[in-house]
């Protein structure tokens, strides 16, 4: 299990990196943390001509609170986010999500941008981004642009990034007051990719009615999936077990065929989505009441 021969570049600017990607269009691969890419290289399942390592480009590694959100540089290690006292205090959902990503060694090396751009549908960061209406900053040969989360994840391992475009930052809004959250996943072992997972965000009106709701399912489709119809059932409704069970059923029913693999069938994944949705809504509501 040794990687094949490839070239390796360490551009010192985004412009240089984009130029390299353009020059080797389709043959180059961006290296950020490498937690997904290097195993594939070791197995010779990835065969890039050149690796473009972003690690030497300045100003891509930061966690900045900016009022109602956190701007995070693409090369920021997941562990940096996890251990950030500010994130822990002001964005407990983001913090909780980090703890579900693999293991400390992976988070020490794996980057926020790398996970998002890799876009594994079972990964936590894409689901969080979609649930939180994150915005993505990307730079290409023709300049920078902002991509909204719903537009970012196209299909399995595929994003809206152009081949010579590089994700530079992502901004995760914090949750408003009277809003609770939950991120739940079922994996074969803790740290494995989830068989199914759910991010739920519930905002309560002063009268206790549900004012807003957000449901994103992951591991059960080609991308993280916003359960819009199920969310609709929650609008102005009264929180409760029966409602959450119905919402879970709807969210699960609305899924297209989830993946069947050696660990779980599509039917089991769908059923997990149902159960986890109901549980996540209950947990988020409890947190909202306490918030």
């Amino acid at each position: 299990m040794k990687p094949p021969v490839f070239d390796y570049a360490t551009p010192s600017s985004l412009a240089e990196a984009c130029a390299l990607l353009a020059q080797h269009e389709g043959e180059a691969k961006v290296l950020s943390g490498g937690q997904s890419l290097v195993p594939l290289l070791n197995m010779r399942l990835a065969r890039p001509t050149v690796l473009v390592d972003l690690a030497r480009i300045p100003d891509l590694d930061y966690v900045r609170a900016d009022g109602d959100g956190f701007a995070i540089g693409a090369m920021t290690r997941q562990r940096t986010v996890e251990l950030s006292p500010q994130v822990q205090a002001q964005h407990p959902l983001l913090h909780a999500g980090m703890l579900l990503i693999a293991h400390p060694q992976n988070r020490n090396q794996g980057t926020v941008g790398g996970s998002l751009a890799h876009a594994d549908p079972a990964a936590e960061l894409p689901a969080l981004a979609l649930a939180l209406d994150a915005t993505f900053e990307a730079t290409g040969p023709t300049g920078a642009r902002t991509i909204a989360a719903p537009d970012f994840f196209l299909t399995y391992l595929t994003t809206a990034l152009e081949p010579s475009e590089i994700l530079t930052a992502v901004r995760f809004p914090t949750l408003p007051k009277r809003t609770g959250w939950s991120i739940l996943e079922i994996a074969r072992r803790h740290g494995d990719f989830g068989l199914a997972g759910v991010v739920a965000i519930v905002g309560l009106a002063p009268d206790g009615q549900i004012a807003s709701a957000r449901l994103v399912l992951f591991g059960v489709g080609a991308t993280p999936i916003r359960a819009a119809a199920a969310e609709g059932m929650l609008a102005q409704a009264t929180a409760g077990r029966a409602l959450f069970a119905d919402v879970g059923a709807r969210a699960a029913a609305d899924l297209e065929e989830p993946l069947t693999d050696v660990h779980a069938t599509a039917a089991y994944r769908r059923d997990l989505a149902r159960v986890l949705t109901a549980r996540a809504l209950a947990e988020a509501t409890t947190r909202a009441r306490a918030a």
């Binding site: 299990m1 990687p3 010779r44 079922i186 074969r188 072992r189 660990h263 997990l272 159960v275």
Partner: protein, 806 residues
């Protein structure tokens, strides 16, 4: 000269009134080097001009090999040698197998029989270049139909693994012990169930590795590697390469775990061929993890069971029938068939069951050849028997503890010969059960279970008792064609000129702490500080006959060898000292590290001084005594008997026993199983180093958790492996393994050195059964039960879809 019968059966028999080490959790001599990264594992070995091997493997489960073109690979800069099946045919024989006649060359010649079978190999200046070269080898395959299901492999018209046999049945025989038909005919209750145990395997953290050197001038082969039983690998290579055994030298390096399967015959043979082709340059091959999972010693116990017990009105089991279809995979090269034979040594578990039957079929399929794994077969067997006991308890409305109490072999019945012929040495099974019940506060646990059930939570209690046969013997494997009775284990004890002690053994570090145990025993024998004892490993040409770890035997066998050698050495020292004391040897003794005249406390000298006299004062030596203060003893279990036509033999020398109780919760919505608590009461006689024993037990629990919940080598119906990485073959982590509460009981073996019993496999024998019994206890109110491992969430979820409304 003293023999095996003179070895003390208890610590009180040692020539030391205050032993300091035996029975203590002595820190391991092995550890400082391991902890500082200085232990030399095989991948750490670098030899001058060494080359690196990479192996091209079949992507097909079954395919004729039409042509192999290595010309482009050979041209790649850095490539020194390439070998194919043609080289294997020219320079080697097919490997020997158990049962005989189901083996192949190390590289596929006519056809490939499983995904991952070696087809060609390269030796190059680096592993990176060697793997580059593999991409340049062209193989033309003609795909053949494959069979992945053992039941289909039995059908007429099935693809055949070895056409010359005309069928895929490697072995089929019914063993009957006692009047089992009468037992079932007269039974008041019969409980019958089918079970499925899926493939899993050892997966030590270190894969196999080897460095082979074929001296083309001398015609000798030297292999360094992580060999669990170096002498057996050497013997097999001598046969494969038509070499005299004394021209084959194996040097086993410390290995990063084994659990039965350490050693790769094919990799060793392939590197030997490459070294020969490369003019004698050493060739290293380090199996990578994907090679291990697809083509290494990574799979065992692929079993379909149909089993039943007969009971009388009192819940006494009167008969036990097991029909086993054992899927050994593509060949019998991996010694996996031995795992089908070993259950004869504890067939009826802890219970006095007078009659039993074993209807055994071993079949070939297009999957990886089965290998040994910790426990060697009884873990699935025990899992079947213990679940039948639970099913019977449910049917008869007994508590699972009560049905076991009614069937235990009573303490006064030992030594006890079980129906399948083996003799259990000693034990008190009831005591282990009652101890575990007390630890778990069993009545409170049952009450809590009921309370939680009223809250809609499904917790279950698993309670099982098992036997761990210890100190393995070849005679147990006679039914699958393995010859021999007895497993010799030798040790040499030497005293140097400065009075320090060295123990020389024939096996490398593997993890069980055996060097420490050997040093503890010898330090107490001679009443010296343990720091004065060093243990070193010898290669196959310099070590006394040996086997090393395996079959829960080494602690006992090594203690016997060390004490036997120490006693023989003492006889020499006494003969010399008798001259110095101007008396005769029968008046001289070893006592607390001093050699002295019996009854004369002042007439004594340190044993080291006698040894120094031997080495430095030949003028003082009595006639007939050589000047070497060193002795060797090769221990083998006494009283073993060859197997009869029904496989019955006095085989494994000891029978340790354990009771495990586990509390699990099944989340019936998500099908997740959570192990909440775990208690163990076990009895392996004298614990030479209790910390070592505890480590073996807890490690066995972890592997048992893996077997029960996680680990499975999955093949699809075309016999393609779908679990080829650690992302899919799931080993238990700290999140899944429970921290256990343990209590030790001690019924010393009346037959062994110091009363110790084999203890390396007990938890693996027990944990899978305990967990499945607990899961099924949790699910019982829903009217469903699972008789398949691993009890994956998918399987439990599927089961729950058919469950009674809740």
């Amino acid at each position: 000269m003293s023999g095996v019968d003179d070895i003390p059966k208890s610590v009180a028999g040692l020539p030391n009134t205050s032993p300091r080490y035996i029975g203590q959790p002595v820190e391991r001599l092995e550890d400082p080097a391991l902890l500082t990264g200085r232990t030399q594992f095989i991948d750490d070995v670098v030899l001058p001009r060494m080359l690196h091997c990479a192996i091209l493997r079949s992507p097909h489960a079954h395919a004729r090999i039409v042509a192999v073109d290595t010309s482009e690979a050979a041209k790649l800069p850095g490539v020194v040698a390439v070998v194919t099946g043609e080289d294997a045919k020219r320079w080697s024989n097919p490997t020997m197998t158990v049962p005989p006649g189901w083996g192949t060359h190390c590289l596929a010649t006519d056809k490939a029989r499983f995904v991952g079978e070696p087809v060609a190999a390269v030796a190059a200046v680096s592993r990176y270049v060697a793997e580059d070269a593999l991409e340049l080898i062209g193989v033309e395959y003609e795909s053949l139909p494959a069979v992945a299901d053992a039941r289909k492999a039995l059908e007429p018209g099935s693809p055949l693994l070895f056409e010359e046999h005309g069928h895929n049945v490697m072995l089929q025989k019914v063993f009957t012990w006692g009047d089992v038909d009468a037992a079932f005919a007269s039974a008041v209750h019969v409980v019958q169930q089918q079970f499925r145990w899926n493939r899993l395997g050892a997966n030590p953290l270190e894969t196999f590795g080897v460095v082979s050197e074929w001296d083309v001038v001398d015609g000798t082969l030297t292999c360094r590697g992580s060999f669990q039983a170096q002498n057996h690998f050497a013997m097999a290579r001598a046969m494969v390469f038509n070499l005299p055994l004394n021209k084959v030298r194996f040097i086993s390096h410390p290995h990063g775990g084994s659990f039965g399967g350490k050693g790769g015959a094919r990799g060793t043979d392939i590197t030997a061929l490459l070294s020969r082709k490369a003019g004698g340059r050493p060739v290293k091959w380090i199996e990578d993890r994907m090679e291990y999972l697809a083509g290494g010693a990574s799979q065992a116990w692929d079993r379909h069971y149909d089993a039943a017990i007969a009971l009388d009105t009192n819940g006494k089991v009167t008969g036990f029938k097991v029909k086993l279809l054992d899927d050994l995979g593509a060949t019998a090269e991996g010694w996996g068939a031995v795992s089908a034979a070993k259950p004869l040594t504890n067939f009826t578990g802890c219970y006095a069951i007078p009659a039993a039957q074993y209807d055994l079929t071993i079949v070939a399929t297009n999957k990886l050849p089965g290998s040994p794994y910790r426990g060697m077969g009884p873990p699935p067997h025990n899992w079947v028997l213990e679940q039948l006991m639970d099913l019977a308890a449910r049917k008869l409305a007994f508590d699972p503890a009560e049905i076991r109490r009614r069937n235990f072999i009573p303490p006064e019945a030992f030594p006890y010969t079980i129906a399948s012929g083996n003799e259990y040495d000693s034990g008190d099974y009831r005591a282990a059960l009652e101890t575990a019940l007390e630890m778990a506060d069993y009545p409170a646990l049952r009450a809590e279970q009921l309370r939680l059930r009223s809250e809609g939570r499904y917790v279950g209690i698993g309670l099982v008792n098992t036997i761990e046969p210890g100190v393995f013997d070849w005679n147990a494997y006679a039914i699958v064609g393995q010859p021999g009775t007895g497993v010799p284990e030798g040790a040499t004890v030497a005293i140097d000129l400065f009075g320090k002690l060295t123990i020389k053994v024939g096996f490398a570090l593997e993890g069980q702490g055996q060097y420490t145990v050997a040093a503890q025993v010898l330090a107490d024998y001679f009443a010296v500080d343990i720091a004065d004892v060093r243990v070193v490993a010898l290669d196959t040409l310099s070590a006394p006959p040996h086997f090393g770890p395996g079959g829960s035997r080494l602690g006992v066998a090594l203690t016997g060898a060390v004490l036997g050698a120490a006693q023989r050495l003492t006889e020499k020292l006494i003969a010399v000292a008798a001259v110095l004391f101007q008396t005769t040897p029968e008046h001289v003794e070893l006592r607390n590290g001093m050699i002295g005249v019996k009854g004369m406390p002042e007439a004594q000298m340190p044993f080291q001084q006698v040894a120094q006299t031997m080495l430095a004062r030949s003028d003082l030596l009595p006639p007939g005594i050589d000047p070497n203060p060193e002795s060797t003893f090769v221990w083998t279990a006494p009283g073993r008997t060859p197997a009869d036509d029904q496989g019955r033999a006095k085989s494994y020398l000891t029978a340790a026993n354990a009771c495990h109780i586990v509390l699990v919760e099944v989340d019936i919505e998500t099908a997740q199983v959570h192990i909440k608590k775990y208690w163990i009461a076990d009895d392996c006689g004298t614990r030479l180093n209790p910390a070592n024993v505890e480590g073996q037990t807890q490690g066995g629990v972890a592997q048992g958790v893996g077997a029960a919940l996680l680990e499975e080598a999955v093949y699809d119906e075309d016999a393609q492996l779908r679990t080829s990485t650690f992302m899919d073959y799931l080993l238990p982590t700290i999140y899944e393994v429970p921290m256990t509460e343990k209590r030790a009981l001690c019924t010393p073996s009346p037959f062994t050195p110091l009363g110790a019993k084999g203890c390396g496999e007990g938890a693996m024998h027990t944990t899978p059964a305990a967990i499945l019994c607990a899961i099924n206890d949790a699910l019982a109110p829903l009217g469903v039960a699972l008789f398949e491992v691993p009890a994956s969430p998918q399987r439990i979820w599927t089961l729950l879809q058919g469950a009674a409304p809740r």
